[in-house]
Symmetry: C2
Subunit: 706 residues, 2 copies
């Protein structure tokens, strides 16, 4: 649930308004599919105990459609030659209201819902008795779980130009809905339209962003509302006016699309759909003020300032970050204690904060990663090409781990000249907030604190994932589900590993003592790590020789639970494994027998996750066969899978381990946060159909260091 | 349109069957939203002149729901204590049929469609007169544009167990629909269900793939149909039996989901939705036999065989490819002529084919790209880590360019040990087919011809884009639209550039003669290239000095049309540019004035596409300011943007130019087709809480060459 939508928890009475563009199709006929989907939602909410009041448009349109047809069949051919006069709006309304209510009644009947019809005019509301009476009637209907359906009684309204006049107590169905929401003391008003909500510009302009929370002070003048809705009288301006009226009278309003088949349910679940109008919106957390888009743009601007600093200046920033961590240890521990109390996790002490600061200092001392000349080529006389390392730009990191990760990632970003958007887990919310504050306060004004943005709500992630024009890389550090969800919902490249199903294969030519040591370490050194062994593959000869039984005994002695594959079944008695593609993340593993090394490789390719695999053997050729054929990020000979780690590999800090093949594979250090730029320096050379220069393509020495 | 669905062009009479799981919701009530959406489609098709016949289920379910309610309100509290007997199916059918038809009638009425009801039993069909009569009745109804709605007359059917008996002329509504399709000589039968079609395994198993075209000989035994549909009597087995009956009697059948709101329209547009049954399916192009998934798996297996060959062996393959191209030049020219005739393109001659073969030979001579040790580190005594280059795996290349690209890409794939799936443009269909055949015939049996797969239909692309477990990289070479579409519909990484909006900035300190030469070359050397200049930025001082006017004159003399930005408006009179973010791809460009270099950089960052930018200046500091700050793939000083190209950069063959920052940026050669693998060789070392070894992290010499 979005924090700005938390008020929905207390909603009981809801007014839902369906606009003409929702009720009617382009050709003027009723949109029976859309209406059916909306009514199914209303039935569901009604049966859950919500009090539903429906305000509908569409009678005039539906009536016009019917009358046109009627008029046509009553016309002679001669009549049809004459210029056609526009049909009377009031007559259309009278005819249309009938058909509309007949359809609504049968649809609601099918869903076992009783509906009721209430036609009102502006004039009615001038009478105080009327208002009291209306409230009582509606209360009675809602007590009976009937859904009252309101519409303006257009056919008998005395307003002069009912479709243009925007004066009066209400002037269209949006304002009628707002008025009813207020008078009937509804807890929420949902205005369903043909657009997703209120945009910062015309909805057709790709640069327009959906406004999730309308803040009058901020948006009133900044927004150009674009054209009126496809159909119906109420344009966006009128909708906003009506929504503000209701919101400031105390009924929050959401404008959302009536085209999606589950938007009302989503709104009532507190999901971030459509545009919310709430009287307290201006007082909410700053995040609604600085939208994710502005946050990403600011991070990019700051990163561009950061990357033109000298290497010394960037180093100095990191040293200041380290000092700030130590200077603020008291506050960090305080906030961390509050988190820890809830999470039963280990808390921070001075030693840990000092260690964190030290790791930042080590990064400060690291060799300058950006501006390195990786390659230098003379293309032609006086035309020299350089390939230089440079920052990616803006990174979005979603992490579910301990707040240490925030410090590590922020320091890596500073070292590599990148802007950063961070979203941490809610268990560490306060620790993340204080660490973020401490680190950004240490950033010099020349760069700006907005280099690193901290997101506070999970609901902002979908918006950020749309910003493929500003964010260059997403690194999710968390569950498989998180990684997979992010991958399928963004065009931005994603770096990460979804599974860590690592194998150890013990060959027939293995030194058995070595095998025991490696297998034990691979499983038990840290069973929940992604580089821990999940499946032990054993050569068939070790079953006959008793070697397998020794391995099993060793594991069982250390408390490891074994699950067997089909070939082990019978030979040794364990529980049967359901699937080989399984990450236990605990002191448990699968064991299976293979006939030879190629079967072992085949097994790894079929069921593994291309993370880390190990062969234990004393046969050099067999080892090389394995190392050259296994298609995983890391392949080891006679060494524990647990070595697969940025620090153990000597890469300094680690962003994560990638099992994708693109950009960076295996443990990813600062390299994964860099890209390259081609810089060409000439003296006026042109291509001229490749006759402009004589190509030499001579490799030149690179003098590393900018 | 999918070639296997081309028959829909001749479809006029369509039988549509909606199953119980489509008509009814989980709670037994009618799914009014879904039905509305389906009826809207039927109305659309009806108005377009299609003859629509509807077969519906759902009466029994709907009736049971009503009778339960009725029974409950007629029960005493004592009655409710007794065990409840199951309601009579026939009674349910009788009650339900009424409610169902009342709803259908009002929904269709709203859409101005007249519907009609036809209840039939198995027995009726035993009478030959009945069949003749039925055809006449239906013809009459269709002539009046009424939609006949069929259902089994369950209430009066004499079958013993109407819901389990699968003997007789028909035994459920699927077989009724198939029977009607045949008897009424329909051109198509659409069976709408709650699944997307027929799967190769249970639809809940992620490894199951949707079968787009059912081939009896291939699928009858291979498929496990999984469980029955959520509701209703007809399981998938029964559906397949009915579908085969209709298909082999001459009416093609599509099984598709009734949950999507536009599937019927899609089927009639020839889109690849659901599963098609067609009596000629077994004779169609082999692609329906080898699905895209199998094709990708085969390419991966072949690539694994390819990459363990020696460097010499891979080189030999390329030399044989080159020889095969020359040996088959006659056939290649023949097929190319056929394409060219349609496309008015330049054809192939011996010289061109020889040049192509020569480019393959140059690749053969290239330094071995795979198995290179990029880094070697001693982690601890006797524990050595190597970072080695290796192939990505399987590439999917979608190209719209000339068939030369096929040869270039296939050779690059062979050189870099990758499997390849190719999809070319249809203008070069025959040329691509012959080139693919010639190249794959030259592959040795140890690798296999399936290393390179050629896709023949655009409709297969969406299926391929789902295979993120097999395909490692997608490279679209074509329009912006193609690249953007692919990016948003796959989890597989995509490499490519969507726009090429390149800038030349002429500084106040520019040598004007040099500027003229560079600007002219950048725009006119090949105006449609992605590295051609689209926007010319000029320092404001050049307006006063007349330098800008000289540049303009130079461009106009060469026939370049200029469009002006707001600052130029008035100063010189051109047409106004609508937007700075525009790629002309022709002899046209935008011109704008900037006040200083930072404004030029700001302009490039705001409106460019991060491809290639150039500064013309004699001021060294200004040039370095530009080179270090512009965030594009390539930044040039005093050289034409046209130099941004793999061949001119000396990279050998080029896969394309990437404007994304991940993996490869700018012109991409063989490097972009490689990844790395971490290889660790030990002597039994374990991590043991980082006390297992003493880390040394010593950089060792790399001896390049495997």
């Amino acid at each position: 649930m979005d924090p700005t939508r938390a008020f929905v928890k207390n909603v009981k009475r809801v007014v839902v308004k369906v606009g003409t563009a929702v009720v009617t199709r382009d050709d003027g006929r009723l949109a029976v599919g859309r209406l059916g989907a909306i009514f199914e939602q209303l039935e569901k909410l009604n049966s859950q105990g919500f009090e539903i009041i429906l305000v509908t448009s569409g009678a005039v349109g539906a009536g016009r459609q019917r009358l046109k047809y009627r008029k046509m069949i009553n016309s002679s051919f001669a009549d049809l030659q004459k210029p056609q006069v526009e049909l009377d709006g009031k007559a259309c309304a009278a005819v249309g209201q009938n058909g509309l209510m007949a359809l609504y009644d049968i649809l609601f009947s099918q869903l076992d819902v009783t509906s009721s019809q209430l036609l009102v005019t502006d004039n009615d509301f001038r009478n105080t008795d009327f208002k009291v009476q209306l409230c009582q009637t509606v209360d009675s209907l809602l007590d009976l779980r009937s859904i009252p359906i309101f519409n303006e009684n257009d056919a008998i309204s005395t307003r002069k130009a009912p479709y243009e006049d925007s004066s009066g107590i209400f002037w269209d169905n949006d304002s009628l809905a707002a008025l009813l929401a207020t008078e009937l003391k509804a807890d929420l008003l949902v205005l369903l339209s043909d657009v997703d909500g209120l945009y910062s510009g015309p909805p057709t302009d790709p640069r327009s962003k959906l406004i999730h929370t309308y803040v009058k002070q901020k948006h009133q003048k900044a927004i150009s509302f674009g054209d009126k809705s496809r159909m119906g009288r109420g344009g966006m301006d009128a909708k906003v006016k009506a929504a503000c009226n209701a919101a400031y009278s105390g009924t929050p309003v959401v404008i959302a699309s009536g085209y999606a088949s589950d938007n009302i349910i989503k709104v009532l679940n507190g999901e971030r759909v459509g545009t919310l109008f709430h009287k307290d919106a201006h007082m909410w957390i700053p995040i609604t003020e600085i939208g994710p888009h502005e946050m990403a743009i600011s991070a990019r601007e700051a990163s561009r300032r950061l990357q033109v600093l000298t290497s010394e200046e960037r180093k100095k920033i990191l040293l200041e970050v380290a000092a700030a961590l130590e200077a603020n240890e008291h506050f960090i521990m305080l906030e961390n204690d509050a988190d820890v109390e809830a999470a039963r996790d280990a808390g921070y002490d001075e030693a840990l904060i000092h260690a964190l600061a030290e790791s930042v200092r080590r990064l400060a001392e690291m060799e300058e990663p950006i501006g390195q000349v990786l390659k230098r080529t003379e293309l032609a006389e006086g035309l020299v090409l350089e390939k230089k390392s440079c920052p990616l730009g803006v990174l979005l990191i979603v992490f579910e781990s301990r707040p240490d990760a925030l410090v590590q990632i922020a320091s890596l970003a500073i070292r590599s000249g990148n802007g950063l958007l961070l979203k941490g887990g809610k268990e560490a919310k306060r620790s993340n907030a204080i660490l973020h504050k401490v680190i950004t306060s240490a950033l010099p004004e020349t760069v700006g604190a907005k280099l690193i943005g901290l997101l506070t709500s999970r609901e902002e992630i979908p918006d950020l994932l749309k910003l493929d024009d500003v964010i260059d890389l997403v690194i999710p550090r968390g569950s498989n589900k998180l990684v997979s969800q992010i991958k399928s919902s963004t065009k931005i490249p994603v770096l990460g590993h979804s599974d860590g199903i690592c194998h150890v294969y013990v060959d027939k030519a293995a030194n058995l003592e070595m095998a025991k040591k490696i297998v034990l370490d691979a499983k038990t050194d840290y069973p929940a790590a992604c580089n821990a062994m999940e499946t032990l593959l054993v050569h068939k000869d070790l079953l006959a020789s008793g070697g397998m039984q020794e391995l099993v005994k060793e594991l069982e002695q250390e408390g490891v639970t074994l699950f067997s594959g089909p070939r082990v079944n019978g030979a040794v008695s364990f529980s049967k494994a359901n699937t080989f593609h399984h990450e236990y993340n605990s002191k448990a593993c699968t064991i299976e027998i293979v006939n030879n090394i190629d079967e072992a490789i085949e097994h790894i390719h079929s069921y593994g996750s291309s993370h880390t695999e190990c062969i234990v053997t004393d046969n050099h050729d067999v080892a090389e066969h394995f190392l050259s054929r296994v298609d995983s990020a890391a392949v080891f000979h006679n060494a524990s899978t647990r070595f697969c780690d940025g620090a153990r590999f000597g890469l300094g800090a680690e962003v994560g381990i990638s099992t994708s093949k693109i950009h960076a594979r295996g443990p990813v250090g600062v390299e994964g946060l860099l890209t390259t730029r081609w810089v060409l320096r000439g003296k006026g050379q042109v291509v001229e159909g490749d006759k402009g220069v004589v190509y030499t393509h001579k490799d030149l020495q690179t003098s590393n260091g900018y």
